[in-house]
């Protein structure tokens, strides 16, 4: 649970990222640096393009019809462009979605599939599965039923399984789109603990509507806002600074509105 190194170069650099759906611009010109090992929270009202921004980082926007993405992204100093292999990219950047989406197979299989796909030999499957399940704190709960269907787990357990599945390929960056919004408070707390324990070893970018959660977890914050029908990034920086003394009037209004 180490704190991120403030002097290290950003692992992810975004310049001028714009996203449009069917010709309509939904996100305009985002500039953002993501610190290595830090937890970066993306906050802001609904519809400001936070999820679209997240999806554009691992090219999941390519699955959405008529979605166009412009701008520059650098991962670990390397420029990402059309020629970049999505396979390589999605191994470095993992994603967890709002609703837990375990595959309709057993718990173990959920983890075996991406492992086998990345060339992990059969002899190592068990070991790596156990390792990642321990990492997310799920091993004790599911060790006995690792071969039963994943959808017999509770919502919180399923989400942790999804996090495990995203981590099993050992990505540098983990994207999380409101990972706790579909869960009860106890599961939420468990996942927040997990996020805290992963801090330092994995860079995390989390979209959240829960300001308390952002306060508890985030090292850095990026505030999104809607301007003239399109989303934009209005403020970003270390969490402490943004929360205590927001530079932008809209940020202040947002923080105030949700507190009052």
């Amino acid at each position: 649970m180490s704190a991120p190194d403030p002097q290290a170069p950003p692992v992810l650099e975004v310049r001028g990222l714009s996203i449009g759906y069917g010709g309509k611009c939904v996100l305009d010109g985002v500039d953002l640096d993501v610190r290595k090992g830090a937890v970066t929270a993306l906050i802001g009202p609904s519809g400001c393009g936070k999820t679209s921004f997240l999806m554009s980082l691992n090219r999941l926007t390519e699955l959405v019809p008529r979605c166009s993405v412009a701008g520059r992204v650098r991962l670990g100093g390397r420029e990402l462009d059309a020629a970049t292999d999505t396979r390589w990219l999605r191994r470095r950047i993992g994603m967890v979605f709002q609703r837990p989406t375990p595959f309709p197979v057993s718990v173990a299989r959920n983890l075996h599939l991406p492992l086998r796909d990345s060339g992990c030999p059969r002899s190592e499957l068990r070991a790596r599965t156990e390792a990642v399940l321990r990492r997310v704190g799920l091993w004790d709960e599911v060790a006995g039923r690792i071969d039963s269907p994943a959808d017999t787990l509770s919502g919180g357990q399923q989400q942790r399984l999804c996090i495990a599945r995203a981590l099993v390929l050992e990505p540098e960056i983990l994207l999380m789109d409101e990972p706790c919004s579909a869960l009860d408070p106890l599961s939420t707390r468990r996942i927040e603990e997990l996020i805290r324990s992963l801090r330092g070893t994995v860079t995390m970018v989390i979209v959240t509507h829960n300001l308390g959660q952002a306060r508890r977890l985030a090292d850095d914050v990026a505030v999104f806002w809607s301007r003239g029908g399109r989303g934009a990034l209005i403020e970003s920086g270390p969490a402490k600074g943004v929360f205590s003394a927001p530079a932008h009037p809209d940020t202040a209004a947002y923080l105030e509105g949700l507190q009052g």
Binding site: L63, R90, G94, S106, R109
Partner: protein, 287 residues
């Protein structure tokens, strides 16, 4: 978690709807019972073990239907052996590769839909001209099976495609985020999850194939001897029923008996397909 409705008082409009729905179900039940009852009543008396294992004699007025049964099964195997792989491939293409409104997908789908509507005797004509004459297969089980494959393909593809589409998008997104190879995703997640659709399509396909008469008359002929190889002509069960009913005076009783056998076979295949669906789904999940 069952989403059972509460037994609140339904408005009169809703009551009418309920009556309509239940009424039509009753009508369907009743018709089914009537038809099956007739078949059983008229046909059961003729059925015996010798009926099933003896070949027909005196144009079917006597003897049994053994050769006819064998011919039918062989035709079915040829048909499915060709139609299922093509159908699975086409459905995967339509549901996954060419998703949504892309032009290629719509073209293929339109082509398949039209094929679905092609009347059976047209398929028979085509099968006759192409398989029997052009490819030189003559009146044979192979010709019949291939023709039926063309007829069954659209039903199979559409049903499987429906099944594939009903698999939630969540799985696709999660698999994409992990960059799971398509081959692995299709084989280990998508197809098992869509197994019910395949089974349903298979059912409808088999039903359609076995029910086919006109096309088979023109492609596999109506020779009622036991077929020696796939290139021999053979009479299918449905063709036998037709011949006995229309062209053999006094053949109605035997026609009903054959019809009964046909229907029973269909029921058996139905049950078999359903158990196959269950077996297809469970081992995957606990693997």
């Amino acid at each position: 978690m069952p989403v059972r409705d509460e037994r609140r008082a339904e408005s009169p409009g809703e009551l009418v709807l309920t009556v309509l729905a239940c009424g039509s179900a009753v009508v369907v039940f009743a018709v089914f019972a009537w038809i099956v009852g007739d078949i059983v009543r008229h046909g059961a008396s003729e059925i015996s073990w010798s009926f099933l294992v003896d070949p027909p004699s005196r144009a079917g007025r006597a003897g049994g239907i053994s050769s006819v049964i064998v011919s039918t099964l062989e035709i079915l195997l040829v048909c499915l052996g060709v139609a299922v792989p093509i159908g699975v491939g086409a459905a995967l293409f339509l549901a996954e590769v060419a998703r949504g409104g892309r032009f290629a997908g719509r073209l293929v789908r339109a082509g398949l839909d039209v094929l679905a509507g092609v009347p059976s005797i047209v398929s028979g004509l085509f099968g006759n001209a192409f398989f029997c004459v052009t490819l030189g297969l003559g009146f044979s089980i192979l010709s019949g099976g291939l023709t039926l494959a063309c007829m069954v393909l659209p039903l199979l593809t559409r049903s499987l495609e429906l099944g594939l589409r009903s698999v939630p998008d969540d799985y696709r997104m999660a698999a994409a985020a992990l960059d799971l190879s398509s081959t692995r995703f299709f084989a280990q997640i998508l197809l098992p999850a869509a197994a019910p659709g395949l089974a349903a399509g298979l059912l409808l396909g088999i039903g359609r194939a076995m029910a086919e008469t006109a096309a088979l008359i023109l492609t596999s002929g109506s020779v009622d001897r036991m077929p020696g190889s796939l290139l021999d002509s053979g009479r299918a069960l449905s063709v036998h029923v037709y011949e006995l009913a229309m062209n053999v005076p006094g053949g109605e009783a035997r026609a009903y008996a054959t019809a009964l056998v046909l229907v029973l076979l269909l029921v058996a295949i139905n049950l078999l397909s359903n158990t196959m669906v269950h077996r297809l789904v469970s081992p995957r999940v606990s693997a």
